[in-house]
Amino acid sequence: MALSERRIARHARQLLLPGMGEAGQERLLAARVRVVGAGPVAGPALLYLAAAGVGTLWVDDPDPSSEADAGAWIHPPDGWGRPRSAAAVEAVREVSDLVEVGVARPGARPTAVLVAGAAQEVARAVAEEARLLGLPHVVADADGEGGAVTVVPVGAPCYACAFRAGHGAEATPAATAQVGALAALEMVLLVSGSVQEPAARRIEVVRGQPVARATLRLPGCACAGVAARLAP
């Protein structure tokens, strides 16, 4: 699947990155990412995934937008009350007409999943579902003035293994933007294959400083089974 002239022009600056090139950009184009959430963490994440040239985006969020979404970058006040996912789809289309974007629907088959700012129970359930489907996934959690992004390539220690409780404080708009953008960044690195060995890691942002740690499997976790099955 060669890149069209339009895509080359759109992604010129990204194509120049070492380890990216046409091959990496084509992998992004072939990717179908399901984004769970359409609020303040998902907003920046969606815009950056679209801008990076991800081929297909599905937005999965049943709730209507409200003042709580004022910091999402994609929900102007004149649209509050509408379903968040529909508004998100429109916002992505404004940024790029080259991405296939729509509200998530049954039968859609993503190649990767990004959980953006979902409540803990939802995040765990979606991450587990993705793991069982053999899909790489990134989970973004904003917390107070920072947050964390957990990267789970196929077969890696799962989100539950990596999880560490934060304050549980309401996230500020700068924090949701940090975590949303970082999640998109990690997804782009994962999908484009610009890193030889995709890193299983959890990156916490604490007082403006990113701190990354490799994730470790908790003894006895079911996620070990997947790794054994998928090992070469």
């Binding site: 080359i8 010129a12 600056r13 194509l15 120049l16 070492p18 090139g21 091959a23």
Partner: protein, 86 residues
């Protein structure tokens, strides 16, 4: 050395000049040559340097008046793939 491929980047503006060249090089095997038609001035000054920074070799550079005013022809030989690891 007979170039394996040939591109004319004169219709494009920076950064597409280098992007297009890089994509064309990406499609070649190591040691194969790419002929590039470009304009004197900024593209001629910057492109060979960008190519050298990525490990490709400049084999030839000469004015090509038959192709049009200000046209130059350069030949780049694709270098070894870089260690792209972290």
């Amino acid at each position: 050395m007979i170039p394996r491929a040939r591109i004319d980047i004169r219709p494009f503006a920076c950064p597409l000049t280098w992007v297009k060249t890089r994509i064309a090089l990406e499609r070649l095997a190591e040691g194969e040559a790419l002929e590039v038609l470009l304009a004197e001035g900024e593209p001629l000054e910057n492109l060979p340097r960008s190519a050298a920074e990525e490990g490709h070799r400049l084999l030839a550079a000469e004015p090509a008046p038959a192709e049009g005013p200000g046209a130059w022809r350069i030949v780049l030989v694709k270098g070894a793939p870089r260690e792209e690891g972290i």
